[in-house]
């Protein structure tokens, strides 16, 4: 295989069915690409990521002796790993591959401007080809993975993940910020759809955790510092009571930091009467055969539930999502309590009892004569509290008329929101968050449990509002991901690190202050000492390379030359590079 000599570039333009080809003239793009310097093969194909597409790349590498490959298709954030693997299987180093984003960045966002979109696609392909010609072979590096996992959060997901990992023979360090394991689930007296209490579900898990010698639990503790890279993380755990810190080393991390039930101040008279409470608070009422009105101690006769409190509110930041558990939980609570009260109403916007066994609960509630009344999305029920008496006015969509009711107790089915320290956690582990504040997975469909910080997984309500069953599924999945890494014992890491050219370094120390990771130090073997990168500590942000006044730092795979050649290919292409030939 040719290495760094003359570039022989193959360009593959993907139709993505109709997704790209429906807007961009992919044939025209592929034809233009063939005329670019260094390009020896160019084609368009229905689905580049399919088996047929992958085979085509491998065949053409062989046939045309390609040493660089450009695929113009979807976002590299989606399929770059796929295509890197494909080219590597055909003997081309993964760093000699470049991907053009014609779908997310072109066809999908310029659907009504096919001609301008095609122009943009051509420019982007020209830029990528120019970059491809300058790409350099980099070694593929592997590091060891330490055989232990840090699990952050001792709710149902954290407990399940810890047990799964320990049962497979790896060590677990479980950190919980409160004084008890069990999270939110342990507080619930009646879980749907199984009719078990939270205690029934959690206690066996906690017992198994305590019995397992591979699991070390830190209660009243938080992670205070986090550093390192996949397989080799350094974690500082701080005990919130004693303020003592302990440093441990782990290979993988699972965040099961869960949620907090939303306290709906400003909604439906919450806080104005002790008889208006949330579903979570209802679960915490002392056990009793008769449901009692908190303010009077008398039995509840008229009970009202209100759904979607703090959920599904377009335009309200952090409250736009459906909290997914509330419809089923409300149906469960209403059908359980129906026999103890004279009347039970559920005021709802929509009913989404989507899971296995959940719709049955909704039907059961209706069979038991729980009255369901739909209110309009843009006109929510009005709750007024006067002299301790609660009154609700709302418009019933199906009856088409305004209704009024005076309940003894109102239960608000509130949203799941991220814990108040979620921002701190996001910074600590370098995670991004969705609009609702929960952590983003690496990819919602293709990699829902891993994150963009390699080696850090998320499970349960850390990612989005989820019920207990879904959180447990996530936990076992994330545990399998962690175990997969640890069982292999080693993992490939990116070679895209910064490198100092000692002969150009002027010893100014600027890069030392620019590096966010302390990865640059001075090499005393030189006189005067010059900067030196500790590759294992480098996260490849490139801040040092941009800061260096002597251009002495090379950012592998993102060199100044590789970047500027793209700018040039866009803005001042040579006639040849425009595809017009050198005439």
């Amino acid at each position: 295989m040719l290495k760094n000599n003359e570039a022989r570039i193959g360009v593959f333009v993907c139709h993505c069915g109709h997704n790209i080809a429906g807007t961009v003239d992919v044939k025209e793009v592929a034809e233009m690409a063939l005329k670019l310097p260094g390009v020896v093969f160019s084609t368009d194909e229905m689905f580049m990521c399919s088996d047929a597409g992958q085979v085509l790349i491998r065949e053409k590498i062989e046939e045309c002796n390609l040493n660089r490959v450009v695929v113009a298709s979807c976002s590299p954030r989606m399929h770059e790993p796929t295509f890197r693997r494909v080219v590597e299987e055909a003997g081309v180093n993964r760093y000699l591959f470049d991907q053009v984003n014609l779908r997310e960045h072109v066809s999908w966002c310029h659907m009504r401007e096919p001609e301008l979109a095609t122009e943009k696609a051509k420019d982007l392909v020209r830029m990528s080809v120019a970059r491809a010609a300058k790409l350099e072979h980099l070694p593929v590096k592997k590091v060891n993975v330490l055989p232990s996992t840090l699990v952050v959060g001792g709710g149902i997901a954290g407990l399940r993940a810890s047990l799964d990992i320990a049962e497979r023979g790896f060590n677990v360090i479980l950190v919980e910020k409160t004084s008890e394991l069990g999270g939110n689930v342990v507080n619930w007296t009646h879980l749907f759809p199984s009719n078990q209490s939270g205690v029934d579900v959690i206690v066996p898990l906690v017992k198994a955790i305590k019995r397992n010698k591979r699991i070390k639990v830190h209660l009243n503790s938080k992670v205070s510092a986090f550093e390192g890279y996949i397989g080799n993380f350094g974690v500082t755990i701080k005990n919130l009571e004693t303020e003592q810190e302990e440093r441990v080393e782990v290979g993988t991390v699972i965040l099961t930091t869960g949620f907090e039930p939303f306290k709906p101040y400003g909604y439906y008279g919450y806080g104005e009467s002790p008889d208006i409470l949330t579903l979570a608070e209802l679960q915490k009422l002392p056990p009793s055969d008769i449901l009692l009105v908190p303010s009077t101690g008398k039995p509840v006769k008229k009970l009202v539930f209100i759904g979607c409190v703090g959920s599904r509110e377009p335009g309200v930041k952090g409250h736009e999502h459906c909290s997914r558990h509330c419809c089923s939980a409300t149906a469960k609570a209403a059908s359980d309590l129906r026999v103890r009260v004279d009347e039970a109403l559920v005021l709802y916007q929509d009913i989404r009892t989507y899971g296995s066994g959940h719709e049955e609960l909704h039907r059961l509630a209706r069979q038991k004569h729980v009255i369901y009344s739909k209110f309009p999305r843009d006109s929510k029920p009005k709750v007024t509290v006067k002299n301790g008496k609660i009154k609700i006015n709302w418009f019933d969509v199906l009856a088409g008329e305004p209704l009024e009711f005076e309940p003894d107790m109102v239960v608000l089915s509130t949203a799941m929101i991220p814990p108040d320290d979620v921002e701190q956690t996001a910074h600590l582990f370098s995670l991004t968050r969705s609009g609702d504040g929960f952590f983003n997975p690496e990819h919602i469909k293709l990699a829902p449990l891993t994150t963009h910080t390699a080696g850090v997984m998320i499970a349960g309500a850390a990612q989005a509002a989820k019920n207990a069953s879904e959180s447990v599924i996530d936990a076992s999945g994330a545990a399998a991901k962690a175990v997969g890494l640890m069982a292999q014992g080693e993992v490939e890491i990116e070679s895209t690190v910064a490198h100092v050219l000692p002969e150009l370094c002027s010893s100014c120390h600027t890069c030392l202050t620019a590096c966010p990771y302390g990865a640059i130090s001075m090499n005393e073997e030189y006189d005067p000492p010059v900067a030196m990168v500790t590759e294992a500590k480098c996260h490849s942000c490139g801040t040092c390379a941009a800061a260096c006044p002597s251009s002495a730092i090379v950012m592998y795979h993102s060199t100044d030359d590789q970047i500027l050649t793209m700018v040039e290919a866009f803005l001042c292409p040579t006639p040849e590079a425009e595809g017009g030939g050198s005439a």
């Binding site: 954030r77 997310e104 072109v106 991004t432 942000c541 100044d560």
Partner: protein, 146 residues
């Protein structure tokens, strides 16, 4: 006749925007804009870098020098950088760079620094639209350099 020709010429001219986006926030935000089918002007060409901290002022000046009518730099919100603080370094350099281009005769409205997270597809798309419209009013960069 002359007037008609000028009008046609102006209509044909499309601002060229060089857009540098960080991989973790704004590039992902642009991906989400696509997935959400948010429609915005076609003028920007996105170049992916790991972090806005990677963007040397040289990249911005070179783009303007090579004829970009506008340059967009889009990254994670301050405090939300995937690399902790790369975007703060980018912001610090920006102030200096802006002064420099102004002194060189370039209208600073041709460059735009914005923060758009991975979930802020609309903010990203609006940023491209704002800069494109701003630059369209200013006209081709042509002879602005002193």
């Amino acid at each position: 006749m002359t007037v008609t020709q000028t009008v046609t010429k102006q209509e044909e001219w499309e601002p060229k925007i060089m857009a540098y986006c960080c991989n973790w926030c704004s590039y992902a935000g642009a991906d989400l804009a696509g997935t959400s089918r948010i429609q915005y002007p076609t003028n920007a060409r996105i170049l992916r870098v790991n972090c806005t901290g990677r963007i040397s002022p040289e990249f911005i000046l070179a783009a303007l020098d090579m004829g970009a009518d506008g340059v967009l730099v889009s990254g994670c919100h301050p405090g939300d950088c995937h690399y902790t603080s790369g975007n703060l370094k980018a912001r610090a350099r920006w102030a200096l760079m802006e002064t420099a281009i102004e002194q060189a005769g370039i209208d600073p409205r041709r460059v735009r620094l914005q923060w758009a997270s991975a979930s802020e597809a609309q903010i990203f798309a609006d940023g491209v639209k704002t800069l494109t419209e701003q630059v369209r009013k200013l006209g081709p960069i042509g002879r602005e350099w002193k």
